[in-house]
Every structure is written in C-alpha cells, then in structure tokens.
Symmetry: C2
Subunit: 560 residues, 2 copies
Amino acid sequence: MAQKPSIPKGTRDFNAEQVAKRSYIMETIKEQFKVFGFQPIETPSFENSDTLMGKYGDEGDRLIFKILNSGEFIESFNHIMIKLIKMAVFYHYEKMKIHIHDIDWNQNNYVDSFRDKFSKEINKKESEYFIQEKIPKKELLYDLGWFVFTNTTPNPEKSKEFVELNNSELEQLIITIFADWHSTLKSNYFSNYISEKALRYDLTVPFARYVVQHQNEIEFPFKRYQMQPVWRADRPQKGRFREFYQCDADVVGSKSLFQEVEFIQLYDTVFSALKLEGVTIKINNRKILSGIAEVIGAQDKLIDFTVALDKLDKIGEEKVKEEMRSKGISEDGITKLQPLFTLKGDFGNQVDSLKSILSTSEIGLKGIEELEFINTAISNLKLKTANLQLDVTLARGLNYYTGAIFEVSAPEGVNMGSIGGGGRYDDLTSVFGLPNMSGVGISFGLDRIYLVLEELGLFPDTIAVSTKVLFINFGDNEAMACLKAVTGLRQAGVKAELYPDSAISGKQKKKQMNYANRRDIPFVVLVGEEELKSGVFTLKNMSSGEQQKLPYTELLDALK
Amino acid sequence: MAQKPSIPKGTRDFNAEQVAKRSYIMETIKEQFKVFGFQPIETPSFENSDTLMGKYGDEGDRLIFKILNSGEFIESFNHIMIKLIKMAVFYHYEKMKIHIHDIDWNQNNYVDSFRDKFSKEINKKESEYFIQEKIPKKELLYDLGWFVFTNTTPNPEKSKEFVELNNSELEQLIITIFADWHSTLKSNYFSNYISEKALRYDLTVPFARYVVQHQNEIEFPFKRYQMQPVWRADRPQKGRFREFYQCDADVVGSKSLFQEVEFIQLYDTVFSALKLEGVTIKINNRKILSGIAEVIGAQDKLIDFTVALDKLDKIGEEKVKEEMRSKGISEDGITKLQPLFTLKGDFGNQVDSLKSILSTSEIGLKGIEELEFINTAISNLKLKTANLQLDVTLARGLNYYTGAIFEVSAPEGVNMGSIGGGGRYDDLTSVFGLPNMSGVGISFGLDRIYLVLEELGLFPDTIAVSTKVLFINFGDNEAMACLKAVTGLRQAGVKAELYPDSAISGKQKKKQMNYANRRDIPFVVLVGEEELKSGVFTLKNMSSGEQQKLPYTELLDALK
C-alpha cells in the first residue's frame, strides 16, 4: 500500500521560490561577513553528545535531538533486551536465593565475590543456551545484571533478612530492585550506549569546540562566520521550527570594544543591503545589570531581577515592581531603581541617569564606560539606516553574556520578535580546555528576516530563478534543431529549456504553452516544419503575445 | 574537567579554504543546473522513518541514522524495559503453564481469548504492584506481551505437547519464544516507538516524497536540483564519510530521451566549467542487460550475471566466466556472451556487436535503439571536453534504474572512483502513491571532484577568501581614524579589517604584522601619530615590502 507522504512536524520543504529568497538573504549576509573580514567554517551536523550536553541547561539538553547508535544498534539492543529477560527468567527468585546463600556477606569483598559468581553464571548459561548468538557489549550486560542484583546495597544484616523472605516478600523485593534499576537506565552509561551523537543545537558550542580543537591552526583574533542548520526538539509553532538556519559571526581572542562597534556596523550594513531600513539595534551590558543588582543589594537575585525588568514593556512599572517584591527584592532597592522605570531620551541622557543610579558600583560604572565607548564610536562613524538604542531591560542569554548584549528589532509597525541578537562572552571555550578566550558575536534570524522582507515586499523582483525561454517541441527533428539552439543559448548563460516530449496535436502544443505560462517563463520559441526548413526561430513574448521570426544569432541577441 | 574536543568519526570540520573550495565546486554546478532550467528545492534533514526505510534494501536500512524520539523518550523506554522484565518474572514458566491450561485451544478464537486473559492478567498485576508508575503506551506493552506468549503459533495439537513438557523442556521452549520475540523487536512497530525520524540517506527518495506530496503545486515535467548533505552510517574510510553533500539534478514526468541527451551535456558543461577536461561519461542501458540475460536464458539471474560482468575490468574474462558458471549460468549461455568480452571500437562498432548478440531479444533491441538515439544526438551536438563511452558492464543501482545508466570517471591518470552517476527510473514515486512517473537524473560526487581538482591543481587562485587589507592598531585614536577608513573601504566592497587590540610596544606591532602575514593578507595600512595628524595612510605591500603614503581617496583607489 502506498504511503501517504508527509514530513516530520516542525520541518519544512522549500520550493524554488523559497530557496531563492532564502539564498538571497543568506548571500547578502555572507557578502558582508566577508567584507568585514570574517572567514567561513563548517562543522558536522552531529557532534559527540558530550560536546553538546550540559551546555544549554536542562531544558536545552532535553531539546537536543539524539541520534541512535547506528548499524548494529537495534540488533545489539534486541540482544540486550533478550538477555535481560532471559536473566530475569533464569535468575528468578529461587535462583537468586541460591546466589544470596552463596555469598559470604561477612567478607569485605562480598560485592566482588557476588559479581564474580554472577558473571560466571551468566557465562555458563550463555555457553549452554545462547551459543549461537553474538554477545554484544558483554560488559554492559554484566554491569546491568550486577546492578540488578546488588544495587539494593546488600549488607550482612540485610542478607539474613533476604534468605528468610518468603516467595511473596521476595517478589516484592525484586520489584524494588527493578525500581532501582530504573535509575541505572537513566544514567549516562546507558544513554551513551544507545546514543553517542546528537544534532547541532546551535552554532556557538560547535564553534567553541572547533576553536579549541584547531587552536594550533588558527590565527587569533579569529573572525569566523558560519551559516548552517541547527535542530531543536521544541514544540513547533508559528515561526518556530525544529530545523532552521543560524547565521552567526563571531570573533574570539580579543577584548577590544572595537569589535562591538564593528558588529553594530555589520548589522547596519546587512540590513541596509537588504533594504530593511529603520531596524533598531538595542544594546545593553551585563555589567550594568550586575551593577544594578549590586546597588539594590540583590546580587544573588540577578536573574529574578532581570527577568522582572525585562517585562517592563509588556506589563508596566507597577506589575514589575510587584514581581520584584514577590522575589524578595527590598522596598528600598525598588526605590533606588525608580530612575530605571523612567529612563528617557537619547543615549546620553539615559547614560546620565544610569550613572547616578550606579555611582557606587564599580562594575556598573565599567559597564557604562563600555557603552559610552561604543556609542561614541558609532556616533562618529554614523549608521546608514539602523538606530542604536540603549535598552537597559535587555538581558537575553544572561548566563552566557558577560559584556555587551545586542538585539535587533524589525522596523516599527512590523509585528515580529527580534530578528538578530548576540553579545560578548568571556569564557566560551574553557569547558573544552582553553580558558580566557573572550569572544563576541552576533546572529541573524533568517526565518524572521524572511517574514519581514515578505511582509514589506522587499524581495527584489530579480530573485526569481525562472527559465528565460522554453523551446516548444514539435517532433524529434524539430527538437534536435532546437536543442542545438538551446545548447548555444546556455553557453551564453541564458536559462533555456526544450520541452522534452513532442507535441503532435494542437492540444499538446497548448499544454506546452501553458507549461511555460504557469512556470512564468517569459519567452517561448516555436520551431515547426517551416522554421526548420528556413533555419529561423519564432520567438514569442508570452506577456505581450508578440512574435518575431529570427535567425539564430538574432535570437541569441534577443535573449542574452 | 575540560573535555578533549573531538568530532564523531566519519565527519569533518571545514576551514575557510576548504569551505571556499567546496563552494566553488557547488556554485559552478549550481550555475549550470540553473542554465539548464533546473529549479532548486530543499527538503528537511530528517524524514519520517517510514519515508526512508525499505527504500534502500536491508543494507541501506542498516546504514540510515535514526533519531531518538525526543523529550520523554528515555523515560518511556525505561518503563518499557522494566515492564518487560517484570512480565518475564511474573509470567515465568509456571504461570505460563497455567495460562496454557486455561486456553480452550479448540475454540476458533483461542488467540483472542488468550489475548484477553493475558491482557487482564497484566492489568491486575499492574494495579497490584505498579500502581504508582505511569503506564507508557499500554498497547505496545500488551502487544509485545501477547507476542511473547503466542508467537509460537499455538494450535490444538501443540497445546497438548506444551502442558506435558517438563520444566527443562519448557525452559527450552521459552528460549525459542524469546528468539521469536527477537524478530518482533526488529519490527517497525517497535523501532517506531523509539525512533520515528531518520536522517536523509540520499536526495532521491526525499525528492520522490516531495514530488508526490506537492504534486498539485508542481508543473510536470519537473526539473529540480538539490544540493544538501546526506548521512550514512557506513564504516568511515579514506574518501568515505558519514556526512557528505549530494548534488543532484532530476527530471520527472517525461520519458523523452532528450533528457538523457541533456544530462550528458550537463555533465560535459559542468566539468568543462571546472576545467576538468577529459572525463569519460560511461553509458549503458538496463534494457540491454535484461536483453542479454534473456538471450542466455538467465532472466532470473540478472543480478548475478551483472555483478560478474561488472568485474571484467578487474578480474578478466576467464574469472568472470568462472563466476558465471558458479552462479549456474549455462555453458551455452556463456558461449553466446563471447562477443561481449571482446567488445571493441567506437560506439557504432560496439552497438553492431550488441545487435548481433541481442537479435532475438525485443527488450535488448529497444535498449540499443535508445542508446543509438542518445549517441546520435550527442554526436550531432558535440561535447566540449568529455568523452561519451558505451560500457555494457556498467550496472550501478541495477534494481533502481530501468533505462539509461550513467557513470562519470575522472580523466585518465587520476586514480579515483566514479565522480558522478545516474540513470533513468520508471517508478520512483509509486511507493508514495503516484505511479507511472518516469524520471531520470544525475548526481555529482562533490568530495571526489574536490580531490581530483586538488590533485590536478585546478582550483583557481582567486578562490581564497582572504581579507585584502589589515589596518594596524596603534591606539584608540588612531584606530578610530582607521575604522572610518575601513568603513569606507568596506562600503566599496573591499575586504578590510582593523586589528582590534592596540599595539603599544614594537613587539605588539610585529605581532599584528605577523598576523597579516600568516593570514595571507596582502596589504597592511599603518596609521601612527604622524599619519593621524597629516590625514594620510601608509599602505604597505606585504610581499614586496613597498610602502606608500596616501590620502584616503588614493588609498581607496589602490585597494579597490
């Protein structure tokens, strides 16, 4: 029976138009990445699980797509399943009782002794019954088995209890053991056995891994860009997909604030090149957030405080204060924050207010200094079409960023989340063994930029990759002459096609004309018997209906 | 502890140079795809498992990377494991015996009755012992359990044997049941429970799925190209990776042989554009292979026969004949094949020999007719740099192709397997519910083409994406002036960079110069106090050492 074709939820097929529009955005970004001196790298779609796991928090770990160990996995898995069941059958409680009797629980090494005995027994059984089966990962089996029968942490006292249990009590005990075993199955040891690889969750962690792995081939500061898909097992919803591209540019190996300045220029340049004018580049600095927390005596509540502040736009001043109170931020602290709620005016005015709030915080003032450096440079250099705006409520990826924080929002009037973001992180690579590598980077949100350009009608008309001319096929002889012309046109770079099947009836000819129409092919060429004889081509403009009879060289000129 | 960074075996990191070289090949191919009228599509990296499974044979299925069901999978999986073991413990053979006694094997519906009983028993046990555990996918558990105890296909006769078994015999029986269960675990039902998605194994099956799924949006004949990575759990070895790009162009919806002609032109055009001259495009036709098998009375041995013939180059005529004999091909048949072993000369001569061999085979003669049509057209149109060659031993993907078969080999002297291949398939989409869709397509082997271009030194020098000019950073004021110039250069499309950190010492200045050198940046600009004052830039050519002092406009002209 035929399968009804579908794709996994959260994934997408892209047709020619969509591919072309996506390429347009990516190529535009790529071009500016290059002009700004970034070098491309590419990393594998899947990484070793331990490269990714633990880098994105518990929630992130859960959203990472894991790949089943390949090839023999299912087979090994089945073997294990069968073994385990066999073990359970053969080592059911009667037999277990025997084992328990066998163990001298007063020996210090009773666990080892039990282990030995158990292991031997398995081997005996195996040779007896399962001689024809390959034994996969005997160690695992052995360890699991050992765990099953020992993880109740037997001790001399308990062992006596064991052997005096009646069948029903023992059955109950086995259930307990299995429940413990549950935990084992959750352990990394077991997870690794079934999956050792996982799909890339973002481009930053693979980049960090790349930098450390290739540190001896890299010249620092290392400016790299990377545009590849990432995968997240997120609940799919409008605008959120399980496979999507990230477009990242990062520099590692320098703490210079000129990098931040250049990234703002890069955003401005790319969005200007995309004709998406009037985006707002919001900037903040983690040090300012830390400073504020310090000033209000809530260093330990930095995240609570930031999460609340981040909602200012949505829920308003009073509700934010309420939330802060509920998180245990003092009334005194909230009073000190008052100027934050009324931050107004241009960059300079806002910075002045911040300075007064943060006058006692060294880290806060450092944050302000960084912001001012960046703002001065940008004022000096001028942006083309974007606006730079200080947004002290901006906190994305707080645990991650240590200095500047960026976020780009679409021009006013377009209802869309952020279309880009980034920031500085001081310690990205130390988890892979390379400490003190400061980095800063930004990302472009391809899917959202696509939606914005679509909404504002900003995709250039020239994007369409449609074929320019279709040669109608009236039969093999005519088609052969056409294919010669098509070949010549293609050599001149003209997108040309021959309809592959012959039109014998008028209906078939019409079908070919319709094909050209529906594919938005602007020209068709007709070569019938007459044209074949006289060596001319009838060129028809599909929108005007106008027809011309042309020799090949003129046809070429007309279509080039 | 820091992790030692590494990537999964069979995968690769690509540095800037490699990315640039790969892009060069892909862009060259893409350009010609477009000129030939192919439209891009993209499909998701992972597909539903049942879209892929069963399409590539058993070996292919084994090599498909499966993705673990995300989120709660591990948890559910553990539940199942535990349940199964519990079942095995509680339903060990004594209990099973009881069940067997309970069943009235003479009833027609004994299977259902057993099923009911078993199912009830599970529920009772569950409520008794496992009340606190969530029961995952009860149906699965139920079915697996049912299978365990019934898949020995009990029948009235056997049931009598069962109940008379002694314990040891029954134990043996249980082993048999478990062995059967092994097969269940291999079934889709179980695999689907742990994995419902799999990474793309090639681009052809996703393309077929795409065509059927989007058939109402597509104009046929549909010419599409697709360049995306695929993943195979093959044993990695030199030149064989677990993640690699495929570059495919296919047409579906027309049986016209002009397509085959165009694909040969496309190969010729692409390899010529890559300056890889003298490749050999080998062509064969499945119908000819079928015809030969028919003539020698070995229709049922088509694959054996083809596999043997395919080795002619490697093992020689005698060994091929031996292999054919060993596969049961008659001496008479082998005699009839004799002309095949000595096929010589140009296309025409070879075709003549084939005609005499295949004179009695309708399908064989049809294959020859197709070959001749294609060869005549190509002779007429002329190839630029490639050679077209008939190779009657060519059989790649035999089960798949129904007409033309293509394979491209690198120019003589380059030791490399095929760098491209393809063919016609008549029934690609019927498995997804769209029958009678003939298609034909070709593929380019990116990795091998890369190796060949590298070996022959055919990558253009202009590929390097290196930055053109680095501005040395002597301090914030100088850097600010530099960044203005850099901004201007970038706006003019010049790849320009400012070294982010200030060189205070001579050693630091040298470090910056070395950085430019090691990154092959051909020019540096020096702006010290003096230049800052006079508004000029010192431009240094890094290879000649030559220095010039230039105002900004002249600097721009020099670097544009």
